[in-house]
């Protein structure tokens, strides 16, 4: 079966179809990192680059999965719990996402087997010249050949609702997989399995774009990241005939995330796989350093609800895992306590808070802001206020920096308090009595837990600063005059400030 490339070959990325994006304005300065660090450019252009970054992770994950099955059932002595939920989570949320966008997706092993089956290649790219040769094995998409069904992802599912619900469902059972290695194996193993099956059925990285629960929050928070993959010069892209970044070439695969890299304006769905850097015939794609919170446009309710879910979870987890209320922990810990009414109350509260309560309060605040902004003195410009959806999505954006910093604030004490377990399991990953590096028997030693609040307060205030700053900028963009913008944003600013006050009360109150 052969197909030539058409625009419809590439379904819209999540939320693209919802509302038209506003005109892209690149704000702040950019530093072309690949020009600055030539050895890095050389490295990312190698075909073996991605294999080289995924492979160590594959080795680690196979070790983790083994430990989760055959190792000790005691969570804090099993590498899968300690490395995945303490170390990896902290690194991901506190360093990788804020400073390196979705770089985790570049090294993620979940789609490894699926992509191998789909491409029948680990390193090389399968390309063909559509004018010279049309017949051949597999399905031709663009100038690459793929294997498997290669169906188009259903249009009705081109959003991140599956990721939102999947993530919330997983997080409801967090007490289970944070303590029981075998449950973490089930979660990670399922992700490997689902990714592999979906790669065999659907085109390219449908799993990563629409299903992976980790991908959902990476997509949201990568908007705030200080790293981006973008064209050096959009003018070059406008005149480019080959569109190799989209269609692929002999140098690499067309964008596995089904994006049009030369028109990238947000980080959300770019997995930093570097295929576009390799394939671009004009050497025009690069990795750039940029200011924090540079992407400022949410494009659909699915993305907005992801922000609500992340904020609700940061709050709920802070209460659950760092609060003094033991009964909440018992409710969430269904496997140990078996308190089903308590668990159902906890799950119901978590889901209502994430999907109804916070969005409801936010919607009221937005509506109130619009009403306030509408009251203008007689004789002033009486242009109608922007539509609710536009204002709502714009004002949800401040939850991106705030939610990210709230998660960093929550994750930090986890690392400080449980960090010594990392050294222990480094020497004895399976809990079998090994002592590879002589650190297996060190006692549990919380690392400067008394510093926690002093680190958490500035983090939360930084989140609030960016939330208010970006929110005000959004209001200014939507409402034009300063007075209306301030009035429109005031209720939302009050909600954002209340959230931070709540977190501060929780951590230092």
């Amino acid at each position: 079966m052969n197909e030539t490339i058409t625009k419809s070959d590439f379904p819209p990325t999540p939320s693209v179809a919802c509302i038209p994006p506003p005109a892209t304005v690149v704000k702040g300065s950019r530093v072309d990192l690949l020009r600055l660090f030539r050895p890095v450019e050389w490295l990312v252009r190698r075909r073996w680059f991605q294999f080289a970054v995924v492979f160590p992770n594959l080795v680690l994950f196979s070790l983790f999965l083994m430990a989760g099955v055959f190792g000790t059932p005691v969570g804090n002595r099993n590498v899968i719990i300690v490395f995945v939920w303490i170390l990896w989570w902290f690194l991901l949320i506190s360093l990788l996402v804020p400073f390196a966008s979705r770089v985790w997706c570049m090294a993620c092993p979940f789609p490894f087997f699926g992509e191998w089956i789909q491409r029948r290649a680990l390193v090389r790219a399968r390309s063909f010249d559509p004018r010279a040769k049309k017949d051949g094995p597999g399905v031709a998409i663009g100038r690459n050949r793929y294997f498997g069904k290669n169906l188009r992802w259903p249009k009705s599912l081109t959003n991140i609702w599956i990721q939102n619900i999947g993530f919330l469902a997983l997080c409801t059972f967090s007490a289970l997989f944070l303590t029981r290695p075998i449950v973490t194996v089930a979660v990670l193993g399922s992700l490997f399995l689902i990714a592999t099956v979906l790669h065999m059925i659907y085109r390219q990285r449908a799993f990563c774009s629409y299903v992976c629960p980790v991908s959902g929050f990476l997509s949201l928070f990568s908007m705030a990241s200080t790293l981006e993959v973008r064209p050096r010069d959009t003018g070059v892209c406008a005149t480019c005939k080959e569109k190799a970044c989209l269609a692929g070439s002999e140098k690499g695969w067309g964008c596995p995330w089904l994006l049009y890299p030369s028109k990238l304006e947000r980080n959300n769905y770019c997995g930093l796989c570097m295929e576009c850097v390799k394939t671009c015939t004009h050497d025009n794609m690069t990795v750039k350093l940029r200011p924090f919170c540079s992407d400022t446009t949410l494009k659909g309710y699915d993305e907005a609800w992801k922000a609500f879910i992340m904020l609700a979870l940061a709050g709920a987890y802070s209460i659950l895992y760092q609060g003094p209320w033991g009964s909440f922990k018992d409710w969430a810990n269904i496997a140990e306590k078996g308190n089903w009414p308590g668990f159902l109350a906890y799950a119901g509260a978590l889901w209502s808070l994430s999907l109804l309560l916070i969005p409801g309060i936010y919607a009221l605040a937005v509506q109130l802001g619009r009403a306030l902004a509408r009251h203008r003195p007689a004789g002033s410009d009486q242009t109608p206020a922007p539509a609710f959806k536009e204002v709502f999505l714009a004002f949800v954006y401040p939850l991106v920096p705030l939610g990210l910093l709230a998660w960093v604030t929550f994750s930090l004490p986890l690392l400080l308090v449980n960090g010594s377990y990392i050294l222990m399991v480094l020497s004895d990953p399976f809990g079998w009595g090994w002592n590879l590096f002589g650190t297996a028997k060190i006692p549990w030693t919380p690392l400067v837990p008394q510093w926690g609040p002093y680190l958490q307060v500035p983090l939360l205030l930084t989140g609030l600063y960016y939330a208010l700053k970006t929110g005000r900028a959004q209001a200014q963009r939507l409402f034009g005059d300063r007075s209306s913008a301030l009035k429109a944003f005031a209720p939302v600013a009050a909600v954002l400030t209340s959230c931070v006050v709540f977190f501060l009360w929780l951590y230092v109150g």
């Binding site: 059932p73 002595r77 390193v123 090994w434």
Partner: protein
């Protein structure tokens, strides 16, 4: 695909397959070798303590099966006249292991860690293992019979 690409592709495939097979083989081989070296000729008796069931058991309780297996109390049979290396761990709470008749004082048995106790060759007979840390509702029943035969 040129020759260099072909070599790289094959190397990547081999490396992946070697990982999938090599990681488990290496891990299990190392564990076997390590325990044998620790034992230094002694017979190794691995005991898992579970406060929930109130038993010391020789059934290995791993991450994948420890939550649904319900080990029963059984006599632990050990060859007399041969040194013994007890390897003890707990899958839930703290315990302490003691064999009063053999003057083995209480030794901490910590969740997820291994405690090793060496015992000189014993005459045939029967001895009782006791837990000296209150480890749960079944602490009072947390004993085991050692049969040296």
């Amino acid at each position: 695909m040129n020759k260099r690409e072909r070599i790289l592709e094959r190397a990547a495939v081999l490396l992946t397959l070697a990982t999938l097979i090599g990681v488990p083989v290496t891990v299990f081989s190392y564990q076997r070798h390590r325990v044998a070296r620790e034992a230094a000729g002694a017979q190794v008796i691995e005991l898992y303590a579970t406060g929930q069931a109130g038993v010391w058991t020789q059934e290995s309780l791993r991450a994948w099966d420890s939550f649904f297996r319900h080990p029963e109390k059984r006599a632990i049979r050990i060859k007399a006249g041969v040194p013994v290396l007890f390897r003890l761990t707990s899958v839930d709470v703290h315990h302490s292991f003691s064999i009063p008749q053999l003057r083995v004082p209480p030794q901490d048995v910590t969740p997820g860690r291994w405690t090793e106790i060496r015992l000189e060759p014993q005459e045939p007979g029967s001895y009782t293992v006791l837990c000296y840390t209150v480890c749960g509702a079944k602490h009072a029943f947390m004993d085991a019979e050692l049969q040296f035969f």
